[in-house]
């Protein structure tokens, strides 16, 4: 169900990222993105025309902005403007009307009334806001005017109020409720009021044809104070007669046409001036419903070229595009794409870019414009015959062009995909490695991802590994990076360290001082953990020295590991170090969350709220960051990794996978230790930590049952009954 689905989905995403099991929903973390796919990372800069790398995955409103900027049209107004004027402290008109009714109407009347609502439930179980705020506002104003004229307790006012209350009885459904007819002998004004109220009652009761006829009659009554709004309201009734029923009437187009005539007449009527803006908006609405493709093209022409753009036009355009492309909640089929794009360059460009159509290349060849160059570069396959020409054109884009960052990145991307690594390096060489004019932080992240992919040496690789946070995303929304200013990694980096490098390379990377300390520690701890599991003591000692230098809390254990004089003793202290340090992992960890960002050393305590203890398999996924744009089939080996090293890497990854889950490995090791050294008090600690850690480190691939926890528990209490670790360990867990 949607709520559970949404909660569960977020939860599953978090779990999928770690491969670790959790015991409850949440907590929910802030995801620290280095690349943002659905919208610009720097929205304010983008709105000023600093596009960075334009992506086909952007929401279409951002692609409209890109189209304008790439074509030299002034950017649209920033989209991060305030959402609107602050709400007044007044109660909503609906509530004020409800209060007025309760206060002013005689008890005999209020007792007959249903509670007033605004939403009406239709026969198809859907609802819509039937009575809008302006309707209540107008009623409140009309009441105030009559009170001024006649007095609050006058019969005229009470009659009018009673009738209006009857009108609003139709808002929330039920059978038609009509106001009583005007009393015989009442004046023309009172009769006109009542005619209007009766028409409104039909309108709210969804009897639209009757309402439209009555509003037309009011429009024809030159004595009615409501005359000027008659045709406007008749149009609204006609529009609702099409849009409210779940089944579109067969004569929908005729009804829309009639509504348009009424609206045009309203606009031609000077007395109806206060309604002109609304009437024009309704004409646009009718056009979108009655002639969607035509309206799409009208809006597109305006969005593509007009110096300024009304926000509503952009909303209408994207609404129509969703329908044109069949991207609706109802799953409506797409419209005829040829008709949708015909003669409409903006729409054609967006569709070609997002749908990866060969048409992008055709249009670039026809126009040679930077807009279509961007589209063609995104959609071209690495082996397309036109690619050399595209690459040449991309190389010619001047740095001052708003297309430069996009074309530069896409040129490098194509070169990488064509395995022309030397060409990619040459293209990268003149490009900056720090944000500056024309190069946003995200653009630098993408260029670093490319540099990382084509790195010719380990130093080049390490130099390109760090990235910066460009968006912080939580359930509450997406924000600029704010306080997250330290260097981080993207998943492409983690995947290479985890699955495309042998242990010796990891150790060397840890020993290098190229990386910032917190990232270097990530490599070093993974190298140490792998060395322990793979029983490579020399590599383990080298990695341990680096970890000890960067993580003081581990110095004691690691010093003993380094100083151990025989393999068995080294294995024992390694086991105890891992058990004492649930933050140690065979993986370097990829994209950060606020939680991992704040952790500068491996945790020495088991995480309970959202267990991320030890590891669950080798994390080789390229993730959803830069790699999504650069490579299609997992991260490649760094170019400097030799064939022999690739074989070594594969063997090591297989061996690590063969070890199984860390809790089973460590619990078995603790049991063996205690069995072999029956008086060793450290074995008691190892058993206790293994029993506790079992609870907090379940992996998805773990078998449902194991005899290891009860065996460890029994051994601990049988062999070390007086030991404090036995005293502290009261339970074991499945």
């Amino acid at each position: 169900m949607s709520g559970a689905w949404r909660r569960g989905f977020m939860w599953c995403l978090a779990v999928a990222a770690t491969g670790t099991a959790a015991l409850a929903c949440g907590p929910f973390f802030i995801e620290l993105l280095t690349v943002k796919h659905s919208s610009p990372a720097d929205r304010a800069g983008y709105a000023r025309g600093e596009l960075g790398v334009v992506k086909p995955s952007f929401e279409r409103r951002y692609l409209v902005q890109a189209y304008r900027t790439l074509g030299g049209v002034a950017p649209m107004a920033p989209d991060d403007r305030p959402a609107g004027a602050a709400a007044s402290g007044d109660k909503p008109p609906f509530q004020r009307w409800r209060d007025l009714q309760a206060r002013e109407l005689p008890a005999a009347v209020t007792q007959t009334l249903k509670p007033v609502g605004t939403d009406r439930i239709a026969a198809d179980y859907s609802s819509f806001v039937n009575c809008l705020a302006p309707g209540f506002e107008q009623a409140l104003a009309a009441h105030a005017e009559r009170v001024t004229r006649f007095g609050a307790r006058s019969r005229d006012v009470i009659d009018w109020l009673t009738a209006q209350a009857a009108v609003f009885q139709n808002c929330a459904g039920g059978p038609l409720v009509l106001p009583a007819p005007a009393e015989a002998g009442s004046d023309a004004r009172a009769r006109a009021d009542r005619d209007y109220q009766i028409a409104a009652a039909y309108f709210y009761a969804t009897q639209y044809d009757e309402a439209a006829g009555r509003f037309r009659a009011i429009a024809a009554n030159t004595a009615s104070p409501w005359r000027a709004s008659g045709r406007y309201l008749a149009a609204r009734a006609l529009i609702r007669s099409v849009t409210v029923p779940s089944t579109r009437p067969k004569d929908a187009l005729q009804r829309f046409a009639a509504a348009e005539r009424e609206l045009q007449a309203t606009i031609a009527d000077r007395d109806a001036a206060p309604l002109h803006t609304s009437a024009r908006g309704l004409l646009d609405l009718v056009a979108a419903r009655a002639r969607p493709i035509e309206r799409l093209h009208e809006l597109s022409a305006r969005l593509a070229t007009a110096p300024t753009v009304a926000p509503r036009d952009l909303v209408d355009y994207t609404w129509l595009m969703d329908r044109a492309l069949g991207e609706t909640a109802a799953g409506t089929p797409p419209m005829d794409l040829a008709a949708v794009t015909k003669g409409d360059d903006l729409t054609d460009w967006i569709v070609a870019t997002q749908k990866h159509q060969a048409r992008a290349l055709e249009r670039w060849q026809e126009t040679r414009s930077e807009r279509w160059l961007v589209a063609a570069l995104w959609t071209a396959g690495a082996r397309d015959t036109a690619v050399p020409a595209l690459l040449a054109a991309a190389a010619q884009v001047p740095q001052a062009s708003p297309a430069f960052a996009t074309t530069a990145f896409l040129r490098i991307r194509l070169l990488i995909q064509r395995n022309d690594l030397a060409g990619a390096r040459a293209a990268l060489a003149p490009l900056p490695d720090a944000p500056g004019p024309g190069f946003s932080a995200e653009t630098i992240n993408l260029l670093r991802a490319a540099r990382f992919t084509v790195a010719a040496t380990p130093d080049d690789l390490l130099a390109a590994a760090p990235r910066v946070v460009v968006r912080a995303e939580s359930e509450g929304g997406s924000e600029p990076p704010g306080k997250f200013g330290k260097p981080v990694w993207d998943d492409d980096v983690a995947a290479v360290f985890n699955s495309r490098m042998p242990l010796e390379r990891l150790v060397a990377a840890a020993e290098s001082t190229r990386l910032p300390a917190r990232l270097r520690l990530r490599v070093a701890q993974a190298a140490f953990t792998r060395a322990v599991l793979l029983e490579r003591p020399q590599a383990g000692a080298r990695a341990a020295r680096v970890v000890a230098s960067l993580a003081p809390s581990l110095r004691g254990d690691l010093g003993r590991y380094i100083a151990a004089t025989d393999d068995a003793a080294r294995r024992r202290i390694a086991t105890l170090t891992l058990l004492r340090t649930p933050g140690l992992s065979i993986n370097v960890g990829g994209r950060d969350t606020d939680e991992s960002y704040g952790r500068d050393t491996p945790s020495r305590q088991f995480g309970h709220a959202f267990p991320r203890n030890w590891w669950c398999g080798v994390e080789a996924g390229a993730g959803d960051g830069a790699a999504r744009l650069l490579v299609s089939d997992g991260v490649p080996f760094p170019p400097f990794i030799t064939e022999a090293e690739r074989r070594d890497t594969a063997s090591e990854v297989d061996a690590l996978a063969g070890i199984g889950s860390p809790r089973a490995y460590l619990t078995a090791a603790a049991i063996q230790w205690a069995t072999e050294r029956r008086a060793d008090p450290d074995a008691a600690e190892a058993l206790a930590l293994a029993i506790d850690g079992w609870r907090w480190s379940r992996c998805q691939a773990d078998p449902p049952k194991s005899d290891l926890p009860p065996r460890a528990f029994a051994l601990l209490h049988r062999q070390f009954p007086q030991n404090e670790w036995a005293t502290k360990t009261k339970y074991w867990y499945d």
């Binding site: 559970a4 015991l23 799953g331």
Partner: protein, 252 residues
């Protein structure tokens, strides 16, 4: 009748085979008048007019949003189109951030109960369901709400609630609630599937309240065995004839 009814549901297949009265009840319909297979229709335009006999629809009729001590009612916005004889269950989703329902006043609770009970009067509705992932601190409120809803709709109309899978496993707190069924939501559980796989396979693995029904999703890898239980099926995509067929296979 509530707990007794759950037992009856569990035994209904054999009971129907023996009872002359039961012989006239189609196998796909339980004694409460609701089918064994019910599709959840959430907030999107949904057309299920071609649904086969014996399949019901539980549709989101409204969402109650608890915020700052008050409740906002968001009625369904999208059309649901069904055949005239399709049994319907009106679902009310409750959303409360930061366990805000825990501190609602009795008057607000009563108003919420009235709003939920009100969905029973929608055309062709044969049951009412509440979907609320109540936090621990909200359980007292939820219990009071369910009692109030039951009082408002009377003893005969089926009252169903969805349940986090944990409520039907180790975290049992629903005993005594006056509901006809609690529907364990056996989907989107991620790696926790395994602990709840027992409920998916057998009613007896669940708390008593949860033995009459279960909820799953069409894209859920966890295999379920209905074993006489009512099955609610969620579909993250629009319902189509093909996906209805797949839902039917879930039951089978």
């Amino acid at each position: 009748m509530r707990r007794g009814a759950l037992l009856l549901i569990a035994l209904s297949v054999s009971w129907l085979a023996l009872s002359p009265a039961g012989a006239s009840v189609p196998r796909s319909i339980d004694r409460d008048g609701l089918p064994r297979l019910i599709l959840w229709a959430w907030e999107r335009p949904t057309d299920l007019r071609s649904l086969d006999d014996g399949i019901g629809v539980a549709f989101l009729s409204q969402t109650l949003i608890v915020r700052h001590g008050s409740v906002e009612v968001l009625p369904r916005r999208n059309p649901l189109r069904v055949a005239a004889d399709t049994p319907l269950v009106a679902v009310t989703r409750i959303e409360s951030g930061d366990a805000g329902a825990a501190t609602l006043s009795p008057a607000t609770t009563s108003a919420m109960a009235a709003a939920i009970a009100g969905t029973a009067s929608l055309p062709r509705v044969r049951g009412v369901q509440i979907d609320f992932d109540a936090a621990g601190s909200e359980r007292a409120f939820y219990r009071a709400l369910v009692l109030a809803v039951r009082q408002a709709i009377g003893p005969d109309l089926p009252l169903s609630i969805t349940a986090l899978a944990s409520w039907c496993a180790q975290d049992r707190w629903m005993a005594g609630l006056p509901v006809d069924e609690a529907v364990p939501m056996l989907f989107r559980l991620g790696p926790l599937n395994d602990p709840y796989a027992g409920i998916a396979r057998s009613p007896s693995a669940a708390a008593a309240e949860c033995r009459g029904a279960l909820g799953t999703s069409l894209d859920e890898p966890l295999r379920i065995r209905a074993a006489g239980r009512r099955v609610y099926v969620f579909n993250a995509s629009p319902w189509t004839p093909a996906s209805v067929t797949r839902a039917r296979e879930v039951l089978e």
